[in-house]
Amino acid sequence: MSALSLKTYGMLAEFGTPADIFEAAMRCRDAGFSKWDVYTPFPIHGMDEAMGLRKSPVGWFTFCGGFTGFFSGMTMIWYMNGFDYPLVVGGKPLFTPLYAFPVSYELTILLSAFGTLFGMFFLNRLPKFYNPLFKNLRFRKATDDRYFIVIESADPKFSVEATRAFLTDSCHATAVELVED
């Protein structure tokens, strides 16, 4: 197995319906695999629980972005209009959060959005242009209307025969094949 695993990336199993892959995902979860994933053309409701995934932490990136945005906005405006070059305009105070609010608000949103997007990219390790799965022609249907499970050979519980049998017999995959790295 060790000689083989240098060349194989994992075992690819194809499924025909969301219900089938949902069932299979729960079996994989319960079988105790750790390096495996489900590939679907659209997010399937409840799949996170079926796979036993934890809640996505993207929200923290958003929060940090927003927090930075709001306070950098307020600080910037205080520094620029209230401290570094104080000018009285329109009889308004040199600094008050009131007039600083619109811009700080926009910066909150802007940096939250950046935090969200780049946080998501970071968590998903994207962009990742090369992926062994892309070499598999069958897998191209993963963005169309087929559903796949890949159990990676790096998983400690992986073995070519047993995993193939597990995916075929227990999970009822319609097709199972090895993917090379």
């Binding site: 729960m26 409840g46 629980e49 009131l98 007039y99």
Partner: protein
Amino acid sequence: MNPALRISNNWMAFFAIAALFLTARLFGAEHTDSHPVANAVEHAGHGHDHGSAAESVSQFSLKQIAHSYLTAYMFTLSLCVGCLFLSLAHHLFDAGWSASIRRVTDTISSLLFPWMTFLVFPIIGFAWHGDLYGWFYTDPASDHSLDVKKVLFNRETFSVLLPGVIALLGLVGGTLRKWSVAQDKDGAAHWTSKSRKLAAGGIFLFAFGTTLVCFFLMKSLQHQFFSTMYGVYYFAGSVWVTLITLYILTMYLSQPGKPLEKVYFKRQQQDLAVLFFAFTVFYAYIHFSQYFLIWNAALPEETFWYVLREVGSWKWVGMTIIFGHFFVPFLLLLNQDIKRNMAVMVPVAVWAWLMHYLDMTYNVMPVLHPAGLKLTFWDPLLWIAMVSILGALFRRKYQTAAPYPLRDPRLNEAVTHHEVPTSAARSASASTH
């Protein structure tokens, strides 16, 4: 329900009002022709140091009672118009998830007629008596801002139009409820179609009616002030407090053994909390915009309203509203899971009631107590009394029909509007599909 108790509910309102007048009389409140309220407004309007007339309002005076009563009334009215809006919105949006709580909103909004209509008469009485609105006894010839709108702002129009509009709104709510109850029997689609048509017209009546009512009742305390946003502002706060009230009410009603148990689920409750969150932001947006635009333009004919509310402790009331009405619920409810956490949501609901009451106080009371917030025992007393009356009336009326629209065409969606079963719950729920 005990018939004797029912009667007492029925007449509670009458007794309460009678007691108010009596108490005030007993403690020697007096009515003078000088109309200190009017004077206070005028002085405040011109930015002068107001006379001592308003300062010396005795806590047993009719003026104090009138203002406390008005504040309490505005609070309860909020709940009724908020529910009316939700009922109208349900029909207009052809919503599904809210079908199971629609009987609740229908019932509360139907209390606008006759009960809330009836409860507005003391306000009209106070006004005629000279205890509330300065413009009631101001000669339009001496006041430009009153003169221009005397077509609308005269005692007779006020006294007829105000209860009339509230009654009309109540009739819309009552009719929606009646048709929904009728549908319980035959399940016919035409009730829904009719309700939609009524809601279509009703939403316009609601928009203009609510605006007029809050202009008449609250804004006209300082009739010189004008803001196009004011109606939206009252609407936003009303729906806000209504949503959290419904959240708690429906949570109670869906307890095991309670009538909504089988048709109302966590997901719908979460939806109410999400809407409450949305209105937290919406209210802040509306109020901030109103303040911000007035602050920026700095026109004296508008700023005086806020200037009066930045005197003494009113400034801190304002700050409390900014933080308590917006930041506290906003930050608390950012997290999705919190929206189902009763240990948080119940205190938030209590807090929201306090905040909305404070918001109404902020609108009403500075006219009477320009020096700062001054609470008297009337405020909690009348507030609790009025909410209790409304609560009792709701309870009575809610029991006269099924607790939810039994054969509503969207009820099916509402009862299936719950989480996609998790892996654990799935095997149990799979059989129902």
